[in-house]
């Protein structure tokens, strides 16, 4: 077996070298030397078929069409930001990368302006959703091409909710509190992350704050506004919600905890991406059948969701920026990207309007709330203009810990004062 692999890879190397050589000669004659290969950095998807589709279908197709080999370099979950930091700081490594959250703002100066191709791709795809623009337009320039949103919504047990008298998922936070109180008494508590994970904590706590009218900073991007009656009401609600519907362990949860708890039937409701339903349908079909998904509840000031965008950016150190842009245009063409979206069902909700009613949304109709949520999704820090300070606030868990400390017993006044002091220090330089 080893020998076969070895000889195959030797043959491949010879083939690639010969092709590349021929290509180089041809390009030389035309006066433009296209690169032999380019690399795209991605975080391992929890859906193996998604990464495999790029490696086995998209990359070979592009190589066949252009002679340029695309290397799909994956990094383990949770380490992409560290890797991008290294690449951006040293100015060497892959030409293109996946970005999350507000990273186009964080790595702004090391990313190529892709406004031209963003417009081209947008035109071809029926226009961009507004939230896509919030995620990647830095100082008027597109710094990445939006790919998909990994929405964070309510995941719940339809059977247990029905037993407690809720045929539909509650529409407001107060109704959800009532459902949770009954369900906890029936032995089916809720489990919402209040610890230091990557995303499942921010995923519901920012929307909760916004739905009560609270915010970290005013739209001027400078004035810290966390110390408000709205924040106090959201904090009081959160404490009550925690005490009446959950258990202490959620205060120490990280991201895998709620998936584990839901799939082992310890909790009846949580806030997560589509991954719970996806895994349940695959590995725990009985739980899959009774798992529902719904948009976040409404608060006094509306309904909100966290924006968790995946986008593709080009580093400024790329030797041939045009070749990288050409690749992204090719990748985002419906012929290519359509298939890539579909292997992940609707886990990566497209940002282009042409997919608003695409078949991928009808593979699993229970995923439709993720599509609806895009219109009310924002990055942490909203409604202030997004910038670097939000990354610091998220990394220091200012909002998450404000709520978590209140749940653990501190007074509302005290936890807001802590958050206020931290935010004032973070936004001092803004």
């Amino acid at each position: 077996m080893t020998n076969i692999i070895r000889s195959a890879s030797r043959r491949d190397v010879l083939k690639i070298t010969a092709l590349a050589g021929a290509g180089a000669m041809f390009d030389g004659a035309l006066g433009h030397a296209a690169p032999n290969s380019m690399s795209m950095m991605h975080e391992n998807s929890f859906i193996p078929a998604y990464d495999a589709y790029f490696k086995n279908t998209l990359a070979p197709a592009y190589e066949k069409a252009t002679g340029i080999k695309i290397i799909y370099e994956t990094v383990s979950v949770g380490s992409l930001q560290t890797r991008i930091t290294t690449v951006a700081e040293t100015g060497s490594g892959p030409e293109m990368t996946l970005t999350f959250f507000n990273w186009p703002f964080l790595f702004d100066e090391k990313l190529v302006d892709v406004s031209d191709i963003a417009e081209e791709i947008g035109k071809k795809g029926g226009g961009w959703h507004e939230s896509a623009k919030e995620a990647v337009i830095v100082n008027g320039k597109w710094k990445a091409i939006p790919f998909g949103n990994v929405g964070q919504l309510m995941n719940y047990r339809m059977d247990w909710f029905a037993e407690a008298g809720f045929k539909q998922f509650p529409d407001t936070w107060d109704e959800l509190l009532e459902a949770g109180t009954r369900l906890k008494k029936a032995g089916h508590p809720f489990g919402f992350e209040l610890g230091h994970g990557f995303g499942d904590n921010h995923g519901w706590l920012y929307p909760l704050l916004w739905s009560y009218g609270g915010r970290e900073v005013e739209p001027d991007g400078k004035t810290v506004a966390i110390d408000s009656d709205e924040t106090a009401r959201a904090t009081d609600f959160c404490r009550k919600f925690y005490q009446q519907t959950m258990f202490e362990d959620v205060l120490g949860w990280t991201d895998p905890s709620n998936n584990k708890a839901f799939l082992s039937e310890q909790i009846s409701c949580t806030n997560n991406a589509e991954s719970i339903l996806y895994v349940a349908m695959k590995d725990f079909p009985d739980i899959g059948k009774v798992t529902g998904q719904a948009q976040n509840p409404r608060g006094p000031k509306g309904r909100f969701h966290i924006l968790a965008p995946w986008s593709h950016a080009i580093f400024t150190h790329a030797q041939d920026v045009k070749a990288a842009k050409d690749f992204l245009v090719w990748l985002m063409d419906p012929k290519q990207v359509g298939g890539w979206y579909e292997v992940a069902v609707s886990y990566y909700g497209p940002f282009l309007h042409m997919y608003d009613d695409a078949p991928l949304w009808h593979i699993e109709p229970r995923n439709l709330p993720y599509r609806e949520s895009l219109a009310t999704s924002h990055l942490p820090g909203w409604p202030a203009p997004i910038g670097r300070q939000q990354s610091e606030s998220v990394a220091k868990y200012v909002v998450v810990d404000m709520f978590a400390k209140a749940c653990a017993g501190k007074s509302t006044k005290e936890v807001i004062a802590d958050a206020n002091a931290q935010l004032k220090q973070i936004f001092k330089s803004a």
Partner: protein, 314 residues
């Protein structure tokens, strides 16, 4: 006079017969040879430890957002740390974590070493098995601890509930105090074999004759331990404690896998907080200042240890 002239005449041809002082002889001189041996590791250390260290100091004096040029700000980052309540919580956590885990490892490791120093069947096998927590990659063993500390799957909670001691069982990582306690236990579990095996090596260098002599003098087991074992083991205890303090103080993996500093910063240590601020928050300068803040207290602990545990000069 004549003697000296004679001796000179003998000495001179001898020198002439030998080749001129060669490179070989020069390199064999102790002063040269020692430097030749020391230079490669020193260069190695300068490149891999010295450069990052001084770069870290430089970074800590800059306002240096990731992917952007830095701006010299003097001690502004340290001033900001001084006013950051989380920084002080992190400092307190790190001291509690290091102090408690080191004491537990020292006492437990010494006890384990004393037991392992006895003769019993399967002694070698037991010694090998004892090393397992130290050998298994920390991230892997920590994932096992994640399950052990999950109230729903924890065997500890299972016992507590079935023996009617607690129901529901404690939340090992959700409760701020228990979370720190759990991390200390996991750190102790991982670090115990290092103490035990090193102290065991130290114990085996103690001559049995000393124990015999003490026994003849009527010393009890406790007295033999107090007046023979402990004083002779002191240098080893000092070295192993110093290593342990350094590694525990700068621990990262355990916290990163188990709690990532939660709940509400109750388990954040210097290393994890510095990482979050530098990498997650993109504030390299501030991150470097938090990491560097470890240096003075760590140096003080080491100096204190060196003074207190210095081998007695007789």
């Amino acid at each position: 006079m004549s003697v000296s002239a004679h001796s000179q005449s003998i000495a001179s041809p001898a020198i002439r017969l030998r080749p001129a002082p060669s490179l070989r002889r020069w390199t064999e001189r102790e002063a040269v040879f020692s430097w030749l041996m020391v230079t490669p590791p020193v260069l190695f250390l300068c490149a891999l430890v010295g450069y990052p260290f001084f770069y870290g100091i430089w970074l800590s004096l800059e306002d240096r957002p990731v992917a952007r040029a830095g701006q010299f700000v003097g001690l502004a980052n340290f001033t900001a740390d001084w006013h950051d309540p989380v920084f002080w919580q992190v400092a307190q956590n790190t001291f509690v974590y290091t102090f408690a885990a080191t004491i537990l490892k020292m006492v437990g490791g010494l006890a384990l070493a004393l037991v392992m120093n006895q003769d019993f069947r399967f002694k070698n096998l037991t010694r090998a098995v004892m090393l397992l927590p130290f050998i298994v990659p920390t991230v892997l063993s920590t994932i096992s601890w994640m399950w052990i500390l999950d109230p729903a799957f924890s065997p500890i909670n299972w016992f507590l509930i079935h023996l009617n001691i607690a129901n529901p069982g404690p939340s090992w990582l959700g409760n701020a105090k228990l979370a720190m306690g759990s991390l200390i236990v996991v750190n102790t579990w991982r670090g115990l074999p290092f103490y035990a095996i090193t102290l065991l090596a130290g114990l085996q260098t103690i001559s049995p004759e000393l124990y015999e002599a003490a026994t003849i003098d009527g010393a009890s087991a406790l007295a033999r331990f107090r007046y023979v074992t402990l004083p002779l083991l002191k240098p080893v205890i000092f070295i192993v404690t110093m290593f342990s303090v350094i590694f525990t103080f700068a621990d990262f993996q355990l916290v990163y896998v188990l709690t990532r500093g939660g709940p509400a910063n109750a388990t954040h240590l210097f290393a994890t907080y510095a990482f979050d601020v530098a990498m997650g928050g993109g504030q390299l300068g501030m991150g470097a200042s938090i990491a560097l803040a470890m240096l003075p207290p760590l140096a003080l602990i080491i100096i204190a240890l060196a003074v207190y545990m210095r081998p007695a000069r007789s």
